[in-house]
């Protein structure tokens, strides 16, 4: 997420990044995150509905960030993962501490955390991260 992104932009995304709200094509059963207006497979015949994802999935890939982009400097070192959600889509997100028990294939679940803040006086952005199941 870019630093100092506009308040209206992050506000529009609140529902999807707070609660993992995406959607699903009822015709072919494909899940989408983030949401899509049109199913790329079914095109005009598709039938899109809103879905709250379970937040459960597994680690598809990961990397340790030691040199962070602006807005994340205080958090290093931290893990970024690509998570394969139970429902299908791959999504990118931080994986919370502890950093040492990570492995591809490990089960994760979504947790609600602070993502970043513009500054000490700026807006605080919240959303999902992932936690390895004990």
């Amino acid at each position: 997420m870019p630093n100092k992104s506009s308040i209206p932009l992050s506000w529009r995304l609140n529902k999807s990044i707070y609660r993992l709200v995406g959607n699903k094509c009822k015709r072919c059963g494909t899940f989408f995150f983030p949401s899509r207006d049109i199913c790329p497979k079914c095109r005009r015949k598709g039938d899109i509905e809103e879905v709250v994802f379970s937040g459960e999935g597994e680690v598809y890939s990961y990397t340790m960030i030691n040199v962070a982009p602006k807005g994340f400097e205080q958090q290093t070192p931290y893990l970024i993962g690509i998570i394969k959600l139970k429902e299908g889509p791959l999504i990118t997100g931080q994986i919370v501490r502890p950093n040492n028990n990570i492995e591809i294939g490990k089960k994760v679940y979504a947790v609600f955390r602070k993502l970043t803040e513009d500054s000490k006086s700026g807006i605080i952005k919240y959303g999902f991260k992932f936690k390895i199941k004990d």
């Binding site: 501490r97 602070k114 993502l115």
Partner: protein, 346 residues
């Protein structure tokens, strides 16, 4: 009239801990002595991305799992805290959006030092009783601040608990009563990072007077006796005060033991008595009765009696127990603690 009470409850305690002795090491103090005099061994520390709002969300998700209701039926959200992340901009609306409650919502952030969470519970109870809402969500959540080197630094901790109030409860709220006076034993002015406290003054005229008076008045009002209660829960600024209050009120120490979570996690402020209640609900049996008296500096106490129902048995397994959060931990040293608390300037 149908019974109103706790339909679902849930807690959250951050994973990180710092030992009292580790803090004492930095200040050249006698850690063992402090540990013994406070009755606190270690305290919970929020990770760099955890705050009052994230703790409240996780606790509320657990409460929802136990309540087994559609979050859309929650029509009121009240969060009590003295560490709301914003001075202006409510924590409540963020939590409400994050768990997907109704947008036809009664919502306000509450402040009354450490008793704002129980005040939220009273408001939800009254609103359900009045027929204004179907379900209300009351939360006590804090990431408490103590000035480095101050006595508070040894106990100021992070955690919270959430309670969904409505019909068909797992614990009936039988009655509630409050007692409050102008007693400034602990305060923080606008823009100040750390609270100030009045040392020994926080004891007799503040904590003990309010906890004891509220409880005594409550027993008088309801006609209930000490023997009618199986468990008692008091606010836990340290490990010693609640035991002393129990003694003053004529309760045997074994009735308070299950609620004393403070020894392993510290004082979680607005979360404190509510985490004690959560730990009691984790083990209580149907028909057992629980007394809870919170305390908030400034000063006041809210007293409740809860009667556990049959619904507890099946609902409590739906979310992690308090003990699991207490036992699942990782220690940090003082250096990392300072970084996590955001005290480093980059």
């Amino acid at each position: 009239m149908t019974d109103i009470g706790i339909v679902g409850y849930g807690c959250y305690i951050p994973r990180l801990r710092i030992r009292v002795e580790e803090i004492a090491r930095i200040w050249g103090a006698d850690g063992k002595n402090i540990k013994n005099s406070l009755g606190v061994e270690e305290k919970s520390v929020p990770d760099i991305d955890e705050d009052t709002v994230t703790i409240a969300v996780e606790a509320s998700k657990n409460a929802l799992k136990r309540a087994r209701i559609n979050p859309r039926n929650i029509e009121a959200v009240f969060i009590g805290s003295e560490s709301h992340p914003y001075v202006v901009n409510p924590s409540g609306t963020i939590v409400a959006e994050a768990i997907g409650v109704s947008n036809n919502l009664f919502c306000a952030d509450l402040e009354f030092a450490c008793k704002a969470g129980t005040a939220g519970m009273q408001i939800c109870y009254a609103m359900v009783k009045a027929g204004m809402i179907k379900y209300g969500l009351a939360i006590g959540s804090d990431t408490a601040q103590g000035r480095p080197g101050d006595a508070l630094e040894y106990t100021a901790a992070a955690g919270g608990a959430a309670f969904i109030i409505g019909n068909n409860p797992l614990a009936i709220i039988e009655d509630t009563l409050s007692f409050a006076t102008d007693t400034p034993d602990f305060f923080r002015r606008e823009g100040e990072p750390y609270p100030k406290h009045a040392g020994r003054f926080t004891g007799e005229p503040a904590y003990f007077r309010h906890v004891v008076t509220a409880t005594t008045n409550f027993l008088k009002k309801t006609g209930l006796k000490q023997d009618d209660f199986d468990y008692i829960v008091f606010h836990m600024p340290n490990g010693k005060f609640p035991l002393k209050a129990a003694k003053k009120l004529g309760f045997p120490p074994e009735k308070i033991k299950q609620s004393l979570v403070v020894k392993k996690i510290g004082n979680t402020y607005s979360g404190s008595s509510l985490l004690g209640l959560s730990n009691v609900l984790d083990v209580a049996k149907p028909n057992e009765r629980i007394l809870l008296t919170s305390y908030g500096s400034g000063a006041g106490s809210d007293c409740f009696s809860f009667l556990v129902t049959d619904a507890i048995e099946e609902r409590r397994c739906s979310a992690p127990r308090t003990r699991e959060y207490i036992e699942n931990k990782e220690y940090v040293d003082y250096g990392l603690y300072v970084k996590l608390k955001g005290k480093l300037k980059l």
